[in-house]
């Protein structure tokens, strides 16, 4: 007796139902009126799964990860036989037990204990068989006195525990679980992981879908990554989840970096006084640069264009990291008094020797102030890289700290 799942070139295409409450001729009118409805569009379809193939053999604990809408739930539905594939073949050998919606099988008016008995009976167990394990089940669910209260009085986490308990004690041959373990607490999820491992050591197969990547790594022996209906990775959970996380982060960061760069506002109240440009550069290389290294001598240059001689100006510089940490805020007047009188082309340089910003993406913004009010501003974005990582973390500032040690003399206390 060996259980297996064999999936070969499976494609699932959903026709999206389009409601047509209005005649076709009214569509342009509806669009004009701003009615956002699918009626205004044509027939549509979605490829939920696109040529997915894999094999699962006995004893495997398979996790399925992917973004929302990647096809994870569709895959479980197909394996459970709730839906059939548009093309390709699915071969499932073993009795499938699927938990596709959390707590769907629980009867709200029965107590936890009654639910456990009823569920076992539905799974074809005799009363005597259930009697033999009921104490262990109740112990596992760890619901205290609530086990004899109706399920409708449970919190969502407690329902999840009860549902999971009835699942693992039925000892299904193939168990499919869709996104339910994130509801249980820290201790319960550890217990659940242990239960899944024990189940699989008896040759059973467990497949679970979750967004909780940590629990994927601790529970599964293998991980599938679906992206837009395609299987993009299949392997060791730690590696696959790391790759998945990396991709998501990369996408988000690219999006954020794009937004971050457009955030810099350059404006001037009147054209007579303006900041022509802000540039950043390294003292080692001539000209401006967009990438600096930690620890090198660097500069920020602010070019001002002033029509007529003006007094009482001040220049303010601030630097912000991509995640919103304002690293510094400096004023010319703090070190050098008033700026001016200004006339013609003026360049103000702020030197950082050495530049101690940690690796990351930064935005520098220069503001020209007149009597405390910003009259012109301009910015630039630059990146800081490091040749090596510091041991123990990534500080915002790489300040060289000196550490020395000497014996303590008792009298010093």
């Amino acid at each position: 007796m060996s259980y297996h799942i064999h999936v070969e070139g499976v494609t699932k295409r959903y026709e999206l139902a389009t409601q047509r409450p209005f005649p076709r001729a009214t569509r342009p009118l509806l669009r004009l009126l701003g009615v956002r409805h699918q009626a205004a569009r044509g027939l549509d379809h979605k490829m939920a799964l696109d040529g997915v193939s894999f094999n699962v053999t006995e004893g495997e604990r398979v996790g399925v990860i992917g973004e929302n809408g990647a096809g994870k739930s569709t895959l479980l539905h197909l394996l459970a036989g709730v839906a059939s594939p548009t093309s390709g073949s699915i071969e499932v050998d073993g009795r499938v037990h699927a938990a596709l919606t959390l707590g769907l099988a629980l009867r709200e008016d029965l107590t936890g204990r009654e639910n456990l008995y009823l569920d076992a009976e539905v799974q074809g167990r005799t009363r005597a068989e259930t009697d033999a394990v009921i104490d262990r089940m109740i112990d596992f669910a760890d619901l205290g006195d609530f086990i004899d209260q109706p399920v409708r009085t449970y919190s969502s986490g407690m329902k999840a525990r009860l549902a999971f308990t009835s699942l693992v004690f039925v000892e299904p041959e193939i168990l499919l679980i869709d996104e339910m373990l994130s509801v249980g607490d820290y201790w319960f999820s550890q217990k659940a992981a242990q239960a899944v491992r024990e189940l699989c050591s008896k040759g059973r197969i467990v497949m679970l879908v979750s967004h909780n990547l940590e629990s994927m790594v601790s529970m599964c022996s293998r991980c599938l990554w679906l992206d837009g209906g395609r299987l993009v990775a299949d392997g060791d959970p730690a590696q696959v989840t790391a790759a998945y996380r990396g991709q998501v982060r990369q996408r988000d960061e690219a999006e954020m970096a794009a937004k971050f760069s457009t955030l810099r506002q350059d404006w001037a109240l009147d054209s007579a006084v303006r900041i022509k440009q802000v540039t950043v550069g390294s003292s080692r290389r001539p000209g401006p640069a967009s990438v600096l290294s930690v620890g090198e001598d660097a500069w920020i240059s602010v070019e001002l264009g002033v029509g007529q001689g003006r007094d009482d100006h001040d220049l303010r510089l601030w630097i912000e990291r991509l995640d919103g940490l304002r690293v510094t805020e400096n004023r010319w007047s703090e070190s050098s008094g008033a700026l001016g009188p200004l006339a013609g082309q003026v360049e103000v340089v702020a030197e950082m020797a050495p530049m101690i910003l940690g690796p990351g993406l930064y935005r520098v913004q220069a503001e020209l102030l007149n009597a405390g009010t910003t009259v012109a501003t301009a910015g630039a974005v630059f990146k800081v890289v490091a040749e090596r990582n510091l041991v123990g973390g990534q500080p915002a500032l790489w300040v060289p700290m000196d550490v020395s040690c000497r014996p303590r003399v008792a009298a010093e206390r």
Binding site: V248, W332, D402, S404
Partner: protein, 401 residues
Amino acid sequence: MPGSSRVGGPPGTAIPGAGGEEASARSVIECVDLSKTFVMLDGQSIWRLILGGDSMKGFPALRNATLQVRQGEFLGVLGRNGAGKSTLLRTLGGVYVPSSGTVTVAGLVSAIYELGMAGNELLTGHDFARRWLSLHGTGRRQVGRLMSEIAEFAELGDYFDNPIYTYSAGMKARLFFSAATSLPGQIYLIDEALSVGDEHFQTKCWRRLRERLAAGASGILATHDWTAVLKLCRQGCVLERGRIVDRGSSPAVVQRYLGLPRPRAESAAFAPHLPPVYCALTEEDTTLSIPIDVKVASPVWFACSVESFRQGIGWSHLLQAEPRTVASTPGPYDVEVTIPSLPLSPGEYSLNLFLSERGPEGTFVTLDVRSWAYGNDVTLSVTGKPRESGTILPLRWRALS
């Protein structure tokens, strides 16, 4: 040594600025001795309920909870399933009437209860969002803009016009979160809503919360996900069987909640007279003197970092000294850490200290630690001229014309 300030003040050194600031923050959620008892119904008790019997069987889901949340802060409520987290939030949000005790909430409340607040699943996402906005008294003019914001944030595409019952759990969560956080500056009651959705959406949720916090939002986060509490909340508490059994700074609470072991501090340890607060001046050369006791004749490594807490982001490393050997023979020592021109704005920082030894394969084995992550960190209190930024970068200015 002129220009340098030697610090290492005695325990209990007054911390300038800190006390006054905290007192001035307005309290937005407050409950005193809040209890909620649910009546357990069975066959006979229905008659007792109608006829008004005196011995109703009740389940105390919340017992004498007293807490306070200040403007601009999030309180983390940790607890196992069934500990009363949802009951607490719903009672504060006005869904349940308290059995006893008082609730004071100053402001508009926006709640995300467990993911089950949909009400009518036959509504489309669009209708749900519209209804939600009108329930929260949004003016007609704002609705159009907010509706498109909600649709964009939820990333539901055409599904926004489909009924909610066709949604997956993740899609529902996205809709609820988007709608509930669409209005800024409110009081948010969040029940487990940050651990749903995929990696990308979670990042977006966090970004939205940070924006709301920056705009002055406050609230309560009830969850068993302690990492979320560390990221969002400075203060935390633990519910157990309806009672608040622990409260304090969230790292300390999490540490006790999980029962994490602390290093045993046998081979080397920080001396008992290590001060709990170090004081320093901004932009001055600073030397911190840290007393340690070494009990073994093998190399002991020292490392330290200065970190600060930012709401919605968690703890940020600001400064760091990499591990280095400080002693190899038993005895009492003073480790001196010198930071040139302390680049920190006035405020309170967490000073994290580590003593370790080299284990097999070049790893470090921690011998003793003072860190926020263990709830026993040392405070670095910096005073000086106030700044708008958290850190100060030394810049040398010159003008060329």
